[in-house]
Symmetry: C2
Subunit: 224 residues, 2 copies
DNA sequence: GGTTTTTATAAATAACTATTTATAAATGTC
DNA sequence: GACATTTATAAATAGTTATTTATAAAAACC
């Protein structure tokens, strides 16, 4: 199986190491974030368009309603992922936590498709999106943030988070008043890290943090 | 108004000359075809997304049903064209017979949009598709053609024409048993000409023409 | 017999259908 | 109060909605 654009074999040991901890922790820069979802696409070589009904007949557990959506939905475990399969042979893999898992998922899916009598070859995987959640460890004044941060949007009656479109690296953050964040739009884990690092710096530099409470402060207030 | 990618001012005199004849006729190579439809896209600079309802209120004759399709339909005369206008400011112009007309059409449309109080600037036009019809002046054995022509598809119970996907130039032909043809997919008129010329040559070379009847033969048969 | 619709082709435009995932506030239901 | 759903974000996938235009055969309707 050829690999495309993203070399991640050499990342595998590193990610397995991360798996031993609850959250990825970059000690070097004290960043607190964790990759929660990885979306990949897969292309294959086929001799003709796939009849998705053929797969639906062979695997009863898949979902396929072509009047509603042209893709067939296949869910697998170990690793857990959901795959959309299209008649062009192209697929979308969602729900991964580690990019390296994509290969094992695709192996299983290709096997399932072949079991239905469909011939395909040379799957190629591309990571398309990485979603990470994290914590800035400080409350945020979102009204202030919406004013001083360029490319920021905050409408609390519509959604409780501030939407911040970081230009470089080109990612989008959801920033909540609790200091919790979601980072999305990156295609490589290094870009996620760079973006999260930059956000931590910006939050400090722009002075949008509220007074930072640690847990002992909370307990004192609770007992009073 | 900036022009993009397709230089067609210098073609205008040539096309006006063509207008004096029923069909464009390339005497040099005896090609018989005529451009029937030109599709162009337009991009503009806007400061924020356009509220298409604003245009629909100002111009009662437009069509706008956002639950069905996100574009507003505007039809104009002189030259006659239909324009799809989207909230992003992008537009599709269809129904043109000459690429050079696009500029006048866009001038009118931009005026109409500005009348509704919407600000936009710097429209840029790109020709996206040209449709031409033509005549090979020989009947065609479509069953034979489907066999000897690569990238050809013919299913008479589904559609009476043969679909031929010419690779270079990348265009698509509909070829009918009467010898009538439709050429589509080109973005420049020169490409249309090249493609039609090549098809004429291929039809002769491959021997898929049936006996060519001229009008005197027809009349003799009719009287008998 | 005339008219209409469908079959097919290309191209651009964009929103919806579906999938996943964290975040959090509001709303509705039980 | 617990649970479910919605609001919002990104990304890929693809068919549908709509527009135009020539070509022609079949089917349906008047």
């Amino acid at each position: 199986m050829a690999e495309e654009e993203n070399e991640f074999d050499d990342l595998e040991d590193e990610e397995e190491e991360e798996e031993e901890e609850d959250e990825e922790f970059d000690y070097e820069s004290d960043l607190d974030y964790k990759i929660e979802n990885v979306v990949a696409t897969v292309t294959v070589e086929i001799t003709e368009k796939i009849d998705l009904n053929q797969i639906a007949r062979k695997h009863a557990e898949v979902e396929y309603n072509p009047e509603r959506f042209p893709g067939l939905v296949m869910r697998i475990e170990k690793p857990r992922a959901t795959i959309l399969i299209f008649s062009t042979g192209k697929m979308v893999v969602t729900g991964l936590r580690k990019a390296a898992e994509a290969e094992r998922v695709v192996d299983k899916v290709v096997k399932n498709i072949r079991k239905a009598g469909i011939k395909l070859a040379n799957p190629e995987i591309t990571i398309q999106n990485i979603v990470a959640s994290g914590d800035l460890h400080t409350n945020i004044d979102l009204n202030m943030a919406a004013i001083v941060m360029e490319y920021a949007m905050y409408e609390p009656e519509v959604f409780p988070g501030l939407i911040y479109r970081m230009q470089d690296p080109k990612t989008v953050f959801l920033i909540f008043s609790t200091g919790r964040i979601v980072c999305t739009g990156a295609k490589q884990k290094e870009i996620v890290r760079d973006a999260v690092k930059k956000l931590n710096q910006q939050v400090r530099d722009l002075g949008v943090a509220k007074k930072e409470l640690d847990s002992s402060d909370y307990q004192d207030i609770t007992f009073i």
